[in-house]
């Protein structure tokens, strides 16, 4: 081992000292930063993962829409199924409606789905929290859980549904015709755990929706499930290439459809990561100041090293290595700490909920009793490289100071 590494290690772990205080504090400071980075980026990653999962679960992997209506969905579905990578397809029609229950109106988006085929594309059953998807027929409706609460409608209750077409009919008939809304029985609730969906979406069979909107056999689009593991964007490209162009159809992946939202998610995570990185920077500053003090305190010994034949860059390496070592050790300890905490995160939440008596609220607002966690490799790598890099930089200023010392002057200093 070169003398400067030997001396760096000895300064970090002095002979005969059972507890190296400076080293322990410095490593701990860096480790705390790393742990916070890992925990927060993993939990945020977990939420992001959940949200993405939910998005795919509600929209399918790829969606095909036309400029207007798709007149012959059955033919298009047959065509789509021939494209390699397409596993299943299901048509949908959608549009805003007024739903009234006991004089309370709500204006959700109504989705017309194929109750028999939708399960092949979207795992809707997983999100049905009351009643059943199988019970959905032409005279029934499934409400989002929040929508049901807002209406006050329960299973078996009948709600009235008006489509925008009703107003058109009213206008044409000039009021001398009695217009009757469609009466639908509530046969189920779904809950995706997403306010925007649970509070403002209702499901009916495709045929009912086509009736309400006067679509005939036409639909608005087709949801597609692709082979697991295939890239949704690549598949969308492939489907676009296979689609007949005159119909002005376009396939878009769920990633493309939600790119604004996904961008915000990613941006939030990156911003959070960037800000939390400052914990490491602050820890590094304290390492810098400790090492600077050490350089000043050791001025005469550094002079002596020069007299013994040390070169300035070796003296610099001695101090730089201390920063590097603190970075590496801090990263390792921090990773252990971070993943340790993530490992017992449910217990922590449990204790927190018990102390604050907020378990019910947590369950209600987050829908899951356990905290999601997903550590994205890129964040892990960024944490490790960032921390070791910053810590090494922290040793650079003291190293430069030490290397600048002239032995004669260092030895003279009293």
């Amino acid at each position: 081992m070169p003398w400067y590494l030997y001396l760096a290690l000895k300064q970090l772990f002095p002979t005969g000292r059972r507890f190296p205080f400076f080293t322990a504090i410095s490593v701990l400071g860096v480790a705390l930063g790393v742990a916070v980075l890992i925990i927060s980026s993993s939990v945020m990653g977990g939420f992001g993962h959940k949200i993405r999962e939910m998005t795919v679960d509600t929209q399918g992997d790829v969606q095909v829409r036309g400029d207007g209506l798709i007149a012959d969905p059955a033919a298009l579905q047959v065509q789509l199924m021939k494209i390699p990578g397409v596993v299943a397809t299901t048509p949908f029609a959608e549009g805003p409606v007024a739903v009234i229950y006991q004089l309370k109106p709500q204006f959700p988006g109504l989705q017309g789905i194929d109750p028999n085929r939708i399960g092949n594309v979207i795992p809707l059953n997983r999100y049905i929290t009351g009643g059943s998807l199988a019970a959905l027929d032409d005279d029934s409706i499934i409400l989002g859980s929040q929508l049901a609460i807002a209406l006050g409608a329960r299973l078996g209750d009948k709600v009235e549904v008006y489509s925008p077409l009703a107003f058109e009919k009213l206008r044409m008939s000039k009021g001398d015709e009695v217009f009757l809304p469609r009466e639908l029985r509530v046969v189920g609730y779904f809950e995706f755990g997403h306010q925007a969906l649970d509070g403002s979406v209702a499901l009916v069979p495709l045929r009912a929706m086509q009736d309400l909107y006067g679509l005939g056999r036409a639909v608005h689009g087709i949801n597609i499930k692709i082979t697991h593991g295939l890239d949704a964007d690549v598949m969308a490209e492939r489907i676009n290439a296979a689609l007949p162009s005159p119909q002005h159809l376009r396939a878009r992946s769920w990633i493309e459809i939600n790119q604004d939202f996904l961008f915000v998610l990613q941006f939030e995570r990156n911003m959070m990561f960037f800000l939390l990185m400052f914990i490491v920077v602050v820890a590094a500053f304290s390492v810098t100041s400790s090492l600077l003090i050490a350089v000043v305190r050791k001025t005469r010994e550094i002079g002596l090293l020069g007299a013994l034949g040390a070169k300035p860059r070796q003296v610099a390496a001695c101090f730089c290595f201390q920063g590097f070592f603190i970075g590496v050790a801090g990263t390792l300890v921090g990773l252990g700490l971070g993943f340790g905490v993530l490992g017992v995160r449910d217990n922590i939440i449990e204790i927190f909920a018990r102390i604050t008596q907020s378990k019910a609220a947590l369950l209600r607002f987050y829908q899951f009793s356990h905290l999601p966690s997903y550590t994205e490799p890129s964040y892990l790598v960024a944490t490790i490289i960032g921390t070791i890099g910053i810590s090494t930089l922290a040793g650079l200023l003291p190293a430069w100071r030490a290397a600048k010392l002239k032995p004669v002057e260092a030895l003279r200093s009293e």
Binding site: P2, Q11, P14, R300, E301, L305, A307, V408
Partner: protein, 219 residues
């Protein structure tokens, strides 16, 4: 070309202090023969340390020539050619006495069994065999200076430069350190240049010099 182990000719050094120029050395000529011991005395501030720093190559002269063992002095050769002892001991506080001695060898490459054995032997010769694993903070001033002497001799230098090595020690301890220095140098055939205030110490060397007004003369 003489067979001197060190030869300095016309060594001059001046410092700028503000706008005043202090000529500390005004042409010093000095030759040290192998194995010989030389003492240099002089008033405080007369330039003794400055001279030793020039001789060791730690500092460069404004003019003059310096040769080590017949070759022009070069910084890279210093660690093998000469050892240094200072008024302050400059031991590294984080490592024990043995490791401090071994540090001199470490600077020249990873120390092997030979270097370790020699470090142990030198510690024994300065009377600190039992204190090898003690940290500098656990040693007295005299003991620390003896560790520094062992360190200076580890690489078997041809010349030892000692700058007031007893300056921080009490009289009795100082006498012992000087005796040790002289006898070790005699045994190992190392030449010694000893800067001291103490006339008694100076008298024990084979040649006594005096630095006055920037010139070296026989005392």
């Amino acid at each position: 070309m003489s067979d001197a182990i060190l030869s300095g000719r016309g060594l001059a050094k001046a410092y700028l202090s503000g706008d005043r120029r202090i000529e500390v050395l005004r042409g010093v000529d000095l030759e040290i023969l192998p194995g010989e011991s030389v003492s240099i005395r002089g008033e405080s501030g007369s330039g003794k340390s400055t001279l030793l720093n020039l001789l060791s190559g730690l500092d460069t002269a404004d003019s003059g020539e310096l040769a080590w063992a017949g070759a022009p002095a070069h910084g890279d050769a210093r660690a093998r050619f000469l050892g240094m002892v200072f008024q302050s001991f400059y031991l590294i506080p984080e490592i024990d006495a043995f490791a401090n001695v071994l540090m001199a060898a470490r600077m020249l490459g990873a120390p092997g069994a030979v270097e370790r054995a020699r470090a142990k032997d030198l510690l024994a010769r300065v009377g600190l065999a039992e204190r090898a694993t003690h940290l500098p903070s656990q040693l007295s001033g005299g003991e620390r200076q003896r560790v520094a002497v062992a360190r200076a001799l580890l690489n078997s230098p041809r010349l030892l430069l000692a700058d007031e090595p007893t300056g921080n020690l009490d009289e009795h301890t100082g006498d012992a350190v000087i005796e040790l220095l002289l006898s070790l140098c005699r045994e190992t055939g190392t030449a010694l240049a000893l800067v001291t205030h103490n006339v008694a110490h100076a008298k024990k060397t084979s040649r006594q010099l005096f630095l006055h007004e920037g010139k070296l003369s026989h005392g």
